[in-house]
Amino acid sequence: MSRARVTLFTTALLVAGVLVVLASITLGTERVSLYTAWDEWQRGADWADAPALSVLLKLRLPRTLASLLAGAGLAVAGCAFQALLRNPLATPYTLGVSSAAALGAWSAFIVADFGWLVWAEHLPMGQIFAFVFAGADVLLVWMLAARSARSSPTLLLLAGVTLGMLANSGIMFSRYIASPTRLVVMDRWLMGGVDIIGYGPVLALFFGVVPCMAVLILLAGRFDQLGFSRDLAESRGINVARLQWFTFLVGSLLTAVVVAQVGPIGFIGLVVPHAVRAFTGPGHRRLMPISMLAGGIFLCACDVAARLLLPGETPIGIVTTLIGAPFFLYLLLRRKFTDWEY
């Protein structure tokens, strides 16, 4: 792809990003005027006297930052899993990683409800459980892929979907044994949402997502080699087994951090890299940074759309799935699909 086209696309993306962020911090059930907020800031008023500023800083800004970080992280994880499994349909969602992480995060609550592991109550058990479950899922899918040398993308996806179903049945079981009050919180969380309050989740996302993304993007050149040919990559000096292990660990960690904070939001890792590839080509050194940018903006835009177009505070996971599922079907039905093999 020509450099000019990539530059144009990136510029357009950045402009869209600024607009989306502005929309995200001002629009919603309650409109916030930036002027009013600025005024209140200037006056140095108390939170109670500054309704606009407090909505802006306590609700909208953290929510916007969370959607940017989560979207960016999921998109980069999608790119990494696709390179890892040499399969353009691999994503945290289609591989069942998101469901597994959700089960993990939820198990942590249940464990707490039952009064187990009390000694660990100060640890971020949600994130730890999410990571362990997500890691186990990727490991299983990957072992299946490595076991049969000729495993097709269909096999990998079916394995991922099956493990996802397994995780979902685990979630159903934990719903069955959860207390009614827990159940309400849980159901809402499982739909995926960035309607967080305060900066705790934002910081957790920031410190979990940013280093993982940076590490994965640094591996972009190696992903190009791996995607082209495993043997060629190895012969050119890449330790493929180590690269795969590392990517699998970091990708799972990244997904787990995101899911533990905002729930299992689907299809970002699929839709975004595919759309970006159309503009940048498949070279990961362009694809991954631009996907990061596009992923954050896309999720933020979905959140704005959910607030404006649908009644009330529609969970963002519903919006991304409404967009992502038809897109996934389109990719499945496209003739080229049969050309892909592990």
Binding site: G221, R222, G227, F228, E234, R236
Partner: protein
Amino acid sequence: MTPSAAQPGVRDMAMLLSAQAVSYAYTPGVAALAGADIQIAPGCMTGIVGPNGSGKSTLLRLLCGLLAPDSGTITLDGKALARIAPRSRAQILGYLPQAVQPAFSLTAFETVCLGRYPYTGALGSLRETDLDIARRCMADTQTSDLRDRDFSTLSGGERQRVLIAGSLAQEPNLLLLDEPTAALDLHHAREVFALMRRLADEGLGIAVVTHDLNLAAQYCDALTLIGGDHRVHAAGSPAEVMTESTLGAAYASTIRVGKHPFAGTPFAAADGASR
């Protein structure tokens, strides 16, 4: 011009890849290759031939360090191959596997640029000299016209030439190719052999695994014949290796050897009932 010819002195003519008595088994007890010897030298084109499943590809994977031998030694320029850092090894030794199937479609030029990997830094960014070398390697393999074509849309012959260009971009002293003509018609297969011959004449050391005994006889300086028992049956010039008794034993069937109609080199064909 090959990259080396453009930079005289860069390629060390003494660079020798040598395997002594190497054995390998994928499953313990089931030998894939038993006690093989081979030498690959710059400027020399060696054909590795033998029946299906005899261990030709295994030998090539051992030679480029993708597999470690169960016994025996492999040395590159006098040093144990396993002790050479992978990137340094890749700057000396190129490998082109059989039937490359990319998961993502790059352009021909991007494909060739991938060959520069052993020379790039941590970020993998390509400098102008890397791009120049890639362009030169495409010109050298007559693939410059394919520059912006999607790799997946290329014909079999074009693909192999682009892949060879990518291997040349690695600026190796020695290049190991695994059945580069397996999917090609007789015309394109000959073209690929002629290209390898020219590169060898320009100083590159080539080892090529092939099922085409006759093209190998026509273009290679030396042949190494591995038999169905996973052992090296013969090594030497095509005329020495391609005799009815040697081939017959290696392939465990009746092989007739005559003269190539116009090249004059040995010409082998499997005997049996024909219509």
